[in-house]
């Protein structure tokens, strides 16, 4: 802790936290709408989750229990680094168990275990603007959002269907929030999109480099864009987890040799470990 003497609880000063909390309140009031905020330079690089870190720092209290995941796992290097950061600057309790966490900061995944009302999910967002590949000018996309003019995106999805027979967006799949704003769910796999819909937990999204915050309040409708004759379908590897045998979770593909050998394991390491723990006594009894 000695090196962090002289820094405020959770690194940011209170005035900055208040500014960020105001942006969060605004974001909650207008679900899916991007709120510009005066993002600060953080001691971790842009692209490493500075937006999520600032949101977490602003809502974190001494009584919170923090879980940090990257690619679904608590043990990936960046997740460890961010967890360490908060241990160092806030001294809060941390956990790897989804059920025990009050705040979960995530990059690229939503935990498999359904979240509760007393939990907050904080997403790290690289690019908050869902239309940016179609219209790079933010002055213009702002106008499109104001007019709810999302024809560009529908055309883009339609072109996929015309060319490939189905929508070829596998992650960062655009969603409509509360029937009003088109929103980037961050680069989570499309498989995770349905979990956002009417989630009991508050979902906060922080984009540090792009200086935007947005939110999905609890129980808000979140619909993945699709067409009546081409309904949205989540993608996952058609396999079972080699460790816990789950067939309905998102799987990572692990290359095991250079002769085409591979196995699939749960991306959510906590979920997988819990399933194995629950199954172990039964197996022992058999």
């Amino acid at each position: 802790m000695n090196m962090m003497d002289g820094y405020n609880f959770a690194y940011l000063d209170e005035a900055t936290k208040r500014m960020i909390r105001r942006a969060i309140l605004k974001a909650v009031a207008i679900p899916g709408h991007q709120i510009p905020f005066g993002a600060r330079e953080m001691p971790l690089p842009y692209g490493w989750g500075t937006g999520g870190i600032q949101v977490t720092a602003s809502i974190l209290g001494p009584g919170d229990t923090l879980k940090v995941i990257d690619q679904g796992s608590d043990d990936t290097t960046n997740a460890i680094s961010i967890r360490r950061f908060f241990t160092r600057v806030a001294g809060v309790a941390t956990t790897e168990r989804t059920a025990e966490a009050s705040i979960i900061q995530t990059r690229h995944r939503i935990p498999e275990r359904p979240l509760r009302e007393d939990q907050i999910l904080v997403y790290q967002v690289p690019q908050p603007e869902p239309l940016y590949r179609l219209e790079p000018r933010r002055a213009e996309t702002k106008r499109l959002h104001a007019l709810a003019d999302y024809g560009l995106m529908h055309v883009r999805l339609y072109e996929d269907i015309a060319r490939l027979g189905h929508i070829a967006k596998a992650y960062d799949y655009p969603v409509m929030v509360n029937g009003r704003y088109l929103m980037s769910p961050s680069p989570i796999p499309a498989f995770d999109n349905p979990k956002m819909d009417r989630m009991p937990a508050l979902q906060l999204f922080g984009a540090g480099r792009e200086k935007r915050i947005y939110a999905i309040p609890p129980y808000t409708e979140v619909r993945s864009l699709d067409f009546e004759d081409h309904p949205f379908r989540p993608i996952r590897a058609p396999a079972a987890c080699a460790l816990c045998r789950s067939t309905d979770t998102y799987l990572d593909e692990v290359i095991t040799d250079d002769a085409g050998g591979r196995m699939f394991v749960c991306s959510d390491t906590d979920f997988c470990a819990e399933r194995r723990a629950a199954a172990a006594p039964q197996e022992a009894a058999e």
């Binding site: 330079e41 043990d75 290097t77 498989f191 480099r209 692990v254 394991v265």
Partner: protein, 361 residues
């Protein structure tokens, strides 16, 4: 059984320990002091100060030492420190006419009030490696010193403006914007644009400025004036109501004189491109002035045809701390997204192969 990679925590600690070891290098070679860096790598220190957006030579030198000489990493360290400092207000506008000059040149006049002062410049040096420098401890002759001019040195652009030939900037009473507090929004006002450029990546500014000289934009620039030196910073505390001197900072200022054909409402006159940066940074100040002028295209009713004139393109991509972060974050694991793409590609290929097989039957 092979299980997904574990043990990241120990690996990180070991990697950082190794980094620290390589930073120090061979222990048989004497360690660099921060003072040595500050004195002898002065221009690197100035660049870190400018891009780190924090005027503190000691901290910039320390950052350079910690960053193993990586300028962007050093600027990042300084920015991350700067962000924790309280902001207590905006200073009075700097009066660069009263600059304590080390260098002042004009390319538009042979001689002018205040004179041409070359100062410590690489210009006119022959770029031949000085092998004598490889030997340490050799006494070097001191440069001859002339008495400093006492009078104020008027700005060249001001001389032109008095004649009506140089467009005057409209003075504003409002506190200038601060994009470290309020995020960029478009259209971006000139104060914010200039702040963005002043801390922008030197290489990016240089390339953009260069592009305006090669036909990407309508630049016809002259260096009206380039000056390097120290200026006094004044601040008016609200409880006092009058300005007090806080100290001096080192800056480089460049005023580019550019042609302007005039419009229906304005007669033909010169327009200004402005560059002001921390420390001694002539290349940076000049490039900034070129880009500033290019970004005024819309305001001056010029066609926007080139990248340097496109405010969103320039201002969103000038910050090297943001840029390096986002480029380098590609090193972070992306296997969840990649897995989705894999399955997606396999599905597309399967349906294409099925269609081909069907067609063949």
């Amino acid at each position: 059984m092979y299980v997904a990679v574990k043990g990241g925590e120990r690996a990180i600690s070991a990697a950082h320990a190794w980094l620290e070891e390589t930073r120090r290098g061979d222990p048989a070679v004497p360690e660099l002091s921060v003072a040595q860096i500050e004195q002898q790598m002065a221009l690197a220190v100035d660049r870190v100060m400018a891009e780190g957006s924090c005027h503190d030579r000691f901290l910039a030198a320390l950052a350079l030492k910690q960053a193993k000489g990586d300028l962007i990493e050093a600027a990042f360290l300084l920015r991350a420190y700067r962000t924790t400092l309280p902001r207590f207000g905006a200073s009075e506008p700097l009066d660069t006419a009263r600059m304590r000059l080390r260098r002042r040149i004009s390319a538009t006049y042979k001689d002018l009030p205040g004179g041409q002062v070359l100062g410590p410049t690489f210009d006119y040096t022959h770029r031949l490696l000085d092998f004598a420098l490889a030997a340490e401890g050799v006494e070097r002759a001191r440069a001859p010193e002339a008495p400093a001019p006492v009078a104020e040195t008027p700005r060249v652009t001001e001389l032109l403006a008095r004649e009506g030939l140089m467009q005057r900037e409209t003075p504003g009473d409002a506190e200038p914007g601060d994009l470290t507090r309020q995020p960029l929004a478009f259209p971006a006002a000139r104060d914010v644009r200039l702040q963005n450029l002043a801390r922008g990546d030197e290489g990016f500014l240089l390339a953009l400025g260069y592009s305006t000289q090669r036909g990407y934009g309508h630049a016809h620039p002259f260096v009206g004036e380039l000056r390097v030196g120290h200026v006094t910073v004044e601040f008016t505390p609200p409880e006092l109501g009058f300005p007090v001197e806080l100290g001096e900072i080192a800056v480089t200022e460049c005023q580019m004189v550019n042609q302007f054909k005039g419009s229906r409402t304005e007669p033909a006159q010169f327009t200004r491109g402005y560059g002001l940066v921390f420390g001694h940074g002539e290349r940076r100040a000049m490039a900034m002035a070129l880009v500033d002028r290019a970004l005024r295209a819309q305001e001056l009713g010029e066609d926007i045809t080139a990248p340097a004139q496109d405010a969103e393109f320039v201002l969103y991509h000038s910050d090297n701390i943001e840029a390096t972060g986002f480029v380098e974050h590609l090193k972070l694991p992306h296997y969840v997204d990649f897995q989705s793409e894999l399955e997606n590609l396999r599905t597309i290929r399967r349906s294409a192969e099925a269609a081909l097989a069907e067609a063949a039957e």
